[in-house]
C-alpha cells in the first residue's frame, strides 16, 4: 500500500464562487521515495501542500487522499500532523511571544499524546533539540526567541527543517523550500533534508526551479500544470524542464 494515495483530487477555494485549483490530481507516494513536483506559478503546487496539511481555505469537491490507508481529508489539522504529515512552509509565520523551545515541545508532546505515547522528559527533550539544532547551525539565542521572530529568510527555513527533524514525520511536504535562500543556505537546508531521508519516510519536494534538486535528488519528478500532473519521470526530467521551461506543458494543457 502506498503511504500517500491521492486519487482524482478536485479542490476549489472555499466559498460560493471559489475558483477550482486542483482538477483531478492523482499521485502515489511510497515510503522511502522522494517526489519532486515542479510547475509554473499558479499551477496549484502550493494549494496541494495546503490541502494535504488541512488548511481550511479550500474545499475538496471530488477525489480522495489516504495516508496509510486512512482518509486524510476527514482528519483535523493537528490529527494529520500526529499521523505524520509535515508541511515545511514556503513562508513560515512569526509567532511573537511563543518561544521556539515552548513551541517545539508543545508540538512534539501533542503529537505523542495523540498517538498514545508518553511525553518526552525535559532532559531528553533538551538533548534532542541541542543535537538537531547544532547540525542546522541554529543557536541557543534563536531557540529562546519567539518562533521565527526576527529570523532571516534562511533562518526560518532552517527552523522549519529543525522542526521536521524533531517531529520525525512520515510524509514531509516541502513547499518551495528553496525560495529566498542563497547558495550557502540552500546547502545547509538541503543537507538537513537529506539527513532525514529514510526508508520509512517519504518526501514531496515542491519547487519551481531545478536548482534545489541538485541538492535533494528526487526519485521521481512530476510536472504540474493547471491543477493536475501532466507528466512524470525520473530525475532527468528536471534537467529537461530547466533547459526547455514549462511553455510546452502550458500549451498542451490549454
Amino acid at each position: 500500500m502506498a503511504l500517500l494515495d491521492i486519487a482524482n483530487l478536485h479542490a476549489k477555494i472555499d466559498g460560493e464562487h471559489g475558483k477550482e485549483i486542483l482538477k483531478g490530481l492523482s499521485l502515489k507516494v511510497n515510503p522511502g521515495e522522494v517526489h519532486a513536483i515542479m510547475g509554473p506559478n499558479g499551477s496549484g503546487k502550493s494549494t496541494l501542500s495546503y490541502i494535504l496539511a488541512g488548511k481550511e481555505d479550500y474545499e475538496v469537491t471530488d477525489g480522495s487522499v489516504t495516508l496509510d490507508g486512512d482518509d486524510l481529508l476527514e482528519m483535523e489539522i493537528d490529527e494529520r500532523a500526529a499521523k505524520g504529515v509535515f508541511l515545511a512552509f514556503q513562508y513560515p509565520v512569526e509567532v511573537p511571544g511563543v518561544a521556539t523551545m515552548t513551541f517545539l515541545r508543545a508540538s512534539l508532546n501533542a503529537q505523542r499524546k495523540k498517538r498514545g505515547e508518553a511525553e518526552v522528559s525535559t532532559p531528553d527533550f533538551l538533548r534532542l533539540v541541542k543535537d538537531k539544532a547544532a547540525h542546522l547551525g541554529i543557536n541557543q539565542d534563536m531557540l529562546r526567541r519567539g518562533v521565527n521572530v526576527g529570523f532571516s529568510g534562511g533562518e526560518k527555513k532552517r527552523a522549519e527543517i529543525l522542526q521536521m527533524a524533531i517531529l520525525e514525520p512520515k510524509l514531509c511536504v516541502l513547499d518551495e523550500t528553496d525560495s529566498g535562500l542563497d547558495i550557502d543556505a540552500l546547502k545547509v537546508v538541503s543537507e538537513g533534508v537529506n539527513a532525514l531521508r529514510a526508508p520509512d519516510r517519504a518526501m514531496i519536494v515542491i519547487t519551481h526551479y531545478q536548482r534545489l534538486l541538485n541538492h535533494i535528488v528526487p526519485d521521481f519528478v512530476h510536472v504540474m500544470n493547471k491543477g493536475r500532473i501532466v507528466r512524470s519521470g525520473g530525475k532527468e526530467l528536471a534537467l529537461e524542464l530547466e533547459a526547455n521551461g514549462y511553455a510546452e506543458y502550458q500549451q498542451d494543457a490549454a
Binding site: A53, E76, I77, F89, V93, G97, A106, A110
Partner: protein, 437 residues
C-alpha cells in the same frame, strides 16, 4: 450634559445615600473631605452613559440592587477565602469586608525604613501622614472615588523612609467574606520617600454568586528619585461589582510602574490617575484583562503631565471571550509647561467570542508645543495563519489558541519586574485559559 435633573433615585443610590455620614474620625480635614464627597454623590448619584467618563460603563443601570455596608468578617472565613498570591514571598495584610484583620496580617517586625499601620489606627492616632489623603483631585466628579472617600473606614497606611530599599513586597489581600451581599470600602495610602524603592501588591477576591460591591482606593505619593512598583490582581466573585481607583502623585526623576490584572467580577471599573508633578519622571501603566461570559470590565486612565521631560507608557491588553465587554479609556493631558513630554498609549484587544465587544477611547490634550505623544488601539481575532501554523505542527485547536492568548497577554505581564508576582500572574492567566470551555 452632566448636570441633568435626576429626580428618581435607584434602589442602589438610595441605599448608598442612607449609609452616607456613617463614618467619622481622623480629624477635621478628613471629615471635610467626607462631607464634600457625600455632597457630590447626593448631587450626581451613580454615573450613567450620558456622563462622558462613564459612557461605556453605565453604573446606574448596571448597579441597581441595594446592599448594606458589610459587617465584620469572621476570621476563619476571611482566611479561607483569601487565596490569591499566597505563594508569593511578601508581607501579607488581609482586609476583609473593608477592615484590616490583624490576626491574619503581618504587621510586626517591619523592615528598617518601613512603617505600616491601618487607616483606622492612623485616624484614631491623628497621624500626620493622613494629610496626604485627597492630594490628587480628579477634575471631574468620580463616583467611585467619592463613595470611597465618604465611606471607607479602614485600609493600610504605609510610609517608606527616604532612601530605604524595601525588598519584600507588601501584599494587601482584599477579600469579601460574608454570606450575603454587602458593600465594602477600603482606603489606603502609600508614601514612598525620596530615593526609596518599594513594591506594593493588591489582590481582590470573594465568593461567586453574591452581588457584593467592592470599592477600593489607594493613593501613592512618590518622592523624588523613588522607584515604586504596583501589581494588582482582581479576581472578584463572578457576580460582584469591583470599583477601584489608584492615584499617583509622581515626583521628580522617579519611576512608577503599575500593572493591573483583571479576571473577575461581573462589572469592574479601575481608574488610574497620575499627576506627573516632578520633572524627568517615568510612569508605566500596563494591564491585562481576561473576560468571559457576560463580564464587563473598564480600565480608565488619566495622565496629567504638568512638568517637562516626563515619559509615560501604557500598554493594555484585553481578551474577550463569549459575550464579554471590555472598555479602555485613556486620556493624556500635556500642560503648557510640560515640554519634551514623551507619552505613548496603546490598547490591544483580542476577541475570541462572537458576541464580545471592545470599546476604546484614547484622548490626547496637548498644550505644549514640543512633545511626542501617540496612542493606538487595535482589536482583532486570533490570526488564522498563526493558528494554522501551530495546528499543522500537531497542537490541537484549543491548546494553540491558549498559546497565542498567552503570548498576547504575556507582552503586558512581562513588564512586571518582581519575579514572584509575575510568575503568580502568569499562573492565573494559565488557570483562566484552562477554564475555557
Amino acid at each position: 450634559m452632566n448636570a441633568d435633573i435626576r429626580p428618581i433615585r435607584t434602589q442602589a443610590e438610595q441605599a448608598i445615600l442612607a449609609s452616607l455620614g456613617s463614618v467619622a474620625g481622623g480629624g477635621d480635614r478628613l471629615a471635610d473631605l467626607r462631607r464634600a464627597a457625600a455632597r457630590s454623590f447626593e448631587e450626581n448619584g451613580l454615573p450613567h452613559r450620558r456622563v462622558e467618563e462613564w459612557k461605556y460603563t453605565d453604573l446606574r443601570s448596571l448597579m441597581r440592587e441595594a446592599v448594606p455596608v458589610a459587617g465584620t468578617a469572621a476570621i476563619a472565613e476571611a482566611d479561607a477565602r483569601a487565596r490569591l498570591l499566597r505563594g508569593v514571598e511578601a508581607r501579607r495584610i488581609v482586609i476583609a469586608n473593608g477592615a484590616v484583620v490583624p490576626e491574619l496580617s503581618d504587621l510586626a517586625d517591619l523592615e528598617e525604613g518601613l512603617s505600616l499601620t491601618t487607616f483606622a489606627a492612623a485616624m484614631a492616632a491623628g497621624d500626620e501622614v493622613l494629610s496626604r489623603i485627597g492630594g490628587i483631585v480628579p477634575s471631574r466628579y468620580d463616583a467611585s472615588l467619592a463613595l470611597n472617600t465618604a465611606l471607607a473606614r479602614d485600609g493600610v497606611v504605609i510610609t517608606v523612609a527616604p532612601g530605604a530599599a524595601i525588598q519584600r513586597p507588601v501584599h494587601v489581600a482584599h477579600v469579601f467574606a460574608s454570606g450575603t451581599a454587602a458593600a465594602m470600602y477600603a482606603r489606603s495610602l502609600v508614601v514612598v520617600g525620596a530615593g526609596a524603592s518599594f513594591t506594593f501588591a493588591e489582590s481582590f477576591e470573594g465568593a461567586d454568586g453574591l452581588a457584593y460591591q467592592a470599592n477600593s482606593a489607594t493613593e501613592f505619593v512618590v518622592g523624588d528619585g523613588a522607584h515604586l512598583d504596583v501589581v494588582r490582581l482582581q479576581e472578584e466573585g463572578a457576580s460582584a461589582f469591583h470599583l477601584s481607583t489608584l492615584l499617583f502623585d509622581v515626583g521628580r526623576e522617579s519611576k512608577v510602574h503599575a500593572f493591573t490584572f483583571g479576571l473577575g467580577a461581573a462589572v469592574a471599573r479601575t481608574t488610574l490617575y497620575a499627576t506627573l508633578s516632578g520633572e524627568d519622571s517615568h510612569v508605566g501603566f500596563n494591564g491585562a484583562t481576561l473576560l468571559k461570559g457576560r463580564q464587563h470590565a473598564d480600565s480608565t486612565l488619566f495622565l496629567d503631565h504638568q512638568v517637562a521631560g516626563c515619559e509615560s507608557r501604557e500598554l493594555f491588553k484585553t481578551v474577550l471571550d463569549d459575550s464579554a465587554r471590555g472598555v479602555f479609556q485613556g486620556k493624556i493631558v500635556v500642560r503648557q509647561a510640560a515640554q519634551k513630554t514623551d507619552g505613548r498609549m496603546m490598547s490591544r484587544a483580542l476577541v475570541l467570542g462572537d458576541e464580545a465587544e471592545m470599546d476604546n477611547k484614547p484622548e490626547l490634550e496637548i498644550f505644549a508645543d514640543d512633545v511626542q505623544c501617540g496612542h493606538g488601539a487595535t482589536c482583532g481575532a486570533i490570526d488564522d495563519e498563526l493558528l494554522f501554523y501551530l495546528r499543522a505542527r500537531g497542537i490541537p485547536l484549543k491548546e494553540a489558541q491558549s498559546l497565542l492568548v498567552q503570548a498576547f497577554v504575556g507582552e503586558a505581564v512581562e513588564t512586571v519586574e518582581h519575579d514572584g508576582l509575575r510568575e503568580a500572574l502568569v499562573e492565573r492567566a494559565e488557570a483562566w485559559l484552562a477554564g475555557r470551555a
